[in-house]
């Protein structure tokens, strides 16, 4: 195959001080052929995005391309003047960023934005561009291709917006597309639909693509060749099959080991009987309804959680999973007191726990700690680490001066960071280190329960795995309980004792981890389980084939007051019953609940078929 893009001895430097530069990409060479998908993979800081951007002749502020050549069909992109480069970027190379929500302007219609660059660069006139956009919508399996262009970004779902970004990138018919972590922020169920659409359209359009990601399982589905990067150097390069089946380099093997295998589905996990309650649970949530806005008749204007009933045992881990928007984080906020429930009650060790923060005692506050998802914004950028960790010590335990400093050092040691970090500011830390500090702050309170909200989601695989190991170790040593909230089923399954599956604000299934992974289970749990990408080629095709049985992956989620919320997406829905009648809880074994109209036998039979 003829090479479309040839990168030779690329070197990119970042400014580290006045007139001081350090190389963040060192002597990288590779090529991309027409119609080929090359994946750049590595941890954060490996230089993968920097390399991908250099294909557009672009370097981020504070960086400069210090050497090498980037040749697009004979012409060196790095030597082009601004105007030629601008034309090149508009016509021949397009860039697809990680967050569609941040890429689209909320006040312009989708159609205007998808066609804007194409028309602006004179590739085609507005009418031709509109027609082409409609064509692309159709190829990307978007609903109502004819009228979609007239809608606004907030009127479509996140997964649809992500696909629309691909339409935007492809509208001018570029030769090369650079995709930067395009599915990382998505739920597993949405990720599948976006991946499949990307894969099909790249093949149909014959566009070459550079696909940047840290997720090997995703890469396995879409890439022809893989380039493994670390610290700005190429570790290994090869065909996808070779890298996956026969990695030559130790680091590649380490990357693969950090991926948790998808939880084993099937088996008779349900055999475990309900455990005995020796002590009362630390936290009980009883029939809680909560949401935002004015409360009328015990229902908030926007209800997020309906009749939630669950508990966290001492020294145990309860995993809460579901797609984004299902109410996972809201549940944590309710327990933490940040959002008082509209109805229902909370118990801490069999004592009433007030819904409002202001009504809770300092001791109650100390015993329940919340760890926020985004360590970047959860730590005050203007406070030193020592002060961030020291404050809960002062507030709850009255520690001051040397005693406080000593405890701060202990906490840092507990999360495996050096004592010297106490004088640093958060911005001087990496993402994984910030998340550890975020966790250490909760530990400083000496809590009984930690509510961990998606604490590994923003981290790449290796760092995320390290944080999970840390949580496990702390649980053994300190005996804290966790409510571990995540959309990543494989992470939850490797860690939790019990799992609660939320859908549209309702518990559709809960039980021990074995119960949840085994048969029978709720059709929604099945959908989640089968959506976790596997580290093998061809998985996407296999799952799409079996998906045809599961009607509709990405229908809009509706919160209904009557009936089962999963009804519109459910492959085993019973028309006339599921959407109107309140859902009964089936209990295959004590402690395992499934909210479904189908009998247990029917569910088992259906799942065995898959």
């Amino acid at each position: 195959m003829e090479n479309l893009l040839q990168v030779e001895h690329l070197r990119v430097e970042a400014k580290v001080g006045p007139k001081r530069f350090a190389a963040i990409v060192k002597d990288v060479s590779f090529s991309v052929a027409r119609g080929e998908v090359l994946a750049l993979i590595g941890e954060s800081g490996s230089g993968k995005t920097t390399i991908a951007l250099s294909a557009l002749g672009y370097s981020r502020p504070g960086c400069r391309i210090a050497g090498g050549r980037v040749i697009l069909e004979g012409a060196d992109v790095l030597t082009l003047d601004r105007e030629t480069l601008r034309k090149l970027r508009g016509r021949r190379i397009s860039y697809l960023a990680q967050s569609a929500a941040a890429t689209f302007n909320p006040s312009l219609t989708i159609g205007e934005q998808v066609t804007e660059s194409t028309v602006l660069h004179g590739v085609m006139d507005q009418e031709t561009a509109n027609a082409r956009a409609v064509d692309l919508y159709r190829q990307l399996d978007l609903p109502d291709p004819e009228s979609l262009g007239r809608r606004y970004p907030h009127q479509v779902s996140g997964g649809q917006l992500q696909r629309l970004m691909a339409a935007m990138a492809l509208c001018s018919g570029p030769d090369l597309m650079v995709l930067d972590e395009p599915t990382t922020a998505l739920d597993v169920t949405t990720q599948i639909e976006v991946l499949r659409a990307f894969k099909d359209i790249i093949r149909d359009q014959g566009t070459a693509a550079i696909y940047v990601t840290h997720d090997l399982a995703v890469v396995a589905q879409i890439a022809d060749r893989i380039l493994v990067l670390r610290g700005g150097d190429i570790v290994e390069m090869g065909d996808t099959a070779q890298i996956l089946n026969n990695p030559a380099h130790q680091y590649t093997r380490k990357l693969m080991a950090a991926i948790r295998p998808p939880p084993a589905v099937g088996g008779d996990g349900g055999a475990v009987a309900g455990e005995e309650h020796l002590e009362p649970p630390v936290i009980r949530v009883k029939d809680v309804t909560a949401g935002y806005g004015r409360i009328t008749n015990g229902k908030p204007a926007a209800t997020v959680l309906y009749d939630i009933d669950t508990e966290v045992d001492r020294r145990s881990v309860v995993g809460v999973i579901g797609e984004s928007g299902c109410g996972k984080s809201t549940l944590a906020r309710v327990i933490a007191g940040l959002l008082p429930p509209a109805e229902g009650e909370l118990l801490l060790d069999d004592h009433d726990l007030e819904g409002r923060l202001e009504d809770r005692s300092l001791e109650e506050l100390q015993r329940v700690q919340i760890v926020f998802q985004m360590a970047d914004v959860a730590l005050n950028p203007r406070q030193r680490i020592g002060d961030i960790l020291g404050r809960p010590l002062e507030l709850y335990h009255g520690l001051k001066g040397a005693k406080r400093d000593k405890r701060v050092a202990e906490l840092l040691a507990m999360v495996e960071l050096p004592e010297s970090f106490s004088i640093r500011y958060p911005e001087e830390l990496s993402g994984g280190q910030k998340q550890r500090i975020n966790l250490a702050r909760a530990l400083a309170a000496d809590p009984d329960v930690i509510l961990a909200d998606e604490v590994t989601s923003a981290l790449d695989t290796i760092v995320g795995a390290a944080v999970i190991d840390l949580l496990k170790g702390l649980r053994e040593r300190l005996g804290v309980s966790y409510m571990f909230i995540s959309h990543d089923l494989s992470t939850v399954a490797s860690f939790a004792d019990r799992i609660v599956v939320l859908y549209a604000g309702r518990i559709v299934e809960d039980g021990t981890t074995g119960n949840i992974l085994g048969l029978p289970s709720h059709p929604y749990t099945q959908l989640l389980l089968s959506s976790v990408p596997e580290l093998r080629q061809g998985w996407l095709e296999d799952v799409m084939r079996s998906r045809s049985a599961l009607a509709g992956i990405a229908r809009e989620v509706e919160s209904t007051d009557t009936g089962c919320p999963f009804y519109p997406r459910c492959p085993v829905a019973i028309d006339g019953v599921c959407e109107t009648t309140p859902v009964p809880y089936r209990e295959p074994v004590a402690g395992h609940r499934i909210a479904c109209h189908r009998e247990i036998d029917e569910l088992v039979a259906f799942e065995r078929e898959l």
């Binding site: 430097e13 005050n380 702050r441």
Partner: protein
């Protein structure tokens, strides 16, 4: 790249600013600092170097020319202009400085309170300020001073309250932005009280934009107070004040006397100086924010 080491490469994160100094002056910024420092020194020790008492009639001539005795000439009743400018610096600058401080304390205090203590209080304070803002500032100043009479405390309080409007708006908007950050939520969940949250979580994150704002407000209140004095409602003669001096000597301009231009130039140079610093500061911050966003 001889300084480069492998470790350095590992440590670099593009987002981390590291130990970069908060603010480096450009040439124009340095000029601004020079001008402002000059006037601060004049305000502090200038009066000791003044050749005459500012109220003394040192010459029989009105609008006397520049001479060895009267370095910048004399004014309409024969007082030494240099001495009056030196004395006036202290009054003009301290008045506007105090007014700006007052505007800051009131505006930021109320702005943060409004943003953080619930919709009802927010609405009450905001509507009062809206009403306040709907009256043109000079007119409001004129009315208040006409009603209460002109004295230095009245001037400071009037200017301070008028300029607290803008600060209230800015402080409230900043606090609303910062309030939704998770670290503020975390502080609330920890059980922190409102004053602590304002002092330790919100304020440190609002300081940079507020510092730039301080310079701008200072310029406004210098102009406002000088303007009132020029109109005869501010500092009262015979006290030396730059605004008063411009007014007193306006007539001399027809005869070609620069007596009104000297204090006018003083006002202009001080405000330009402050603006140069503020511009430099905001340009650099803007650059950093732009870099962070990309």
């Amino acid at each position: 790249m001889s300084e480069e080491t492998n470790d350095a490469t590992q440590e670099i994160s593009l987002d981390a600013a590291g130990a970069r100094p908060l603010f480096q002056l450009s040439t124009m910024g340095k000029v601004g600092v020079g001008i402002v420092v000059f006037w601060i020194v004049v305000a502090l020790i200038g009066p000791f170097f003044a050749p005459y008492h500012p109220a003394d009639f040192v010459s029989d001539e009105s609008y006397g020319p520049m001479s060895a005795e009267n370095f910048l000439g004399t004014d309409y009743i024969g007082r030494d202009i240099l001495s009056r400018v030196l004395h006036g610096a202290r009054l003009t600058m301290s008045l506007s400085f105090l007014a700006t401080i007052l505007a800051f304390v009131v505006g930021i205090g109320l702005g943060f309170t409004a943003a953080l203590s619930g919709p009802r209080i927010d609405m009450i304070i905001s509507r009062i300020y809206d009403a306040f803002l709907s009256i043109p500032t000079i007119m409001l100043g004129l009315v208040v001073i006409a009603a209460l009479g002109s004295s230095i405390p009245v001037l400071i309080v009037t200017a301070g309250l008028i300029y607290s409007c803008g600060l209230y708006r800015i402080a409230r908007a900043l606090a609303l932005d910062i309030k939704v950050m998770d670290f503020v939520e975390a502080a609330r969940a920890r059980g922190e009280k409102l004053p602590w949250i304002i002092r330790r979580e919100i304020l440190p994150n609002a300081v940079v934009p507020l510092v730039a704002e301080f310079g701008l407000r200072l310029v406004f209140s210098i102009l406002f107070i000088s303007g009132l004095s020029f109109l005869g409602l501010g500092v009262q003669p015979p006290t030396a004040d730059w605004g008063v001096m411009v007014r007193e000597n306006l007539g001399g301009l027809y005869g070609g006397s620069p007596a009104a231009l000297v204090p006018a130039a003083a006002i202009a140079s001080l405000t330009v100086g402050i603006n140069l610093i503020v511009d430099d500061f905001s340009a650099q911050r803007g650059q950093e924010i732009a870099e962070e966003m990309i």
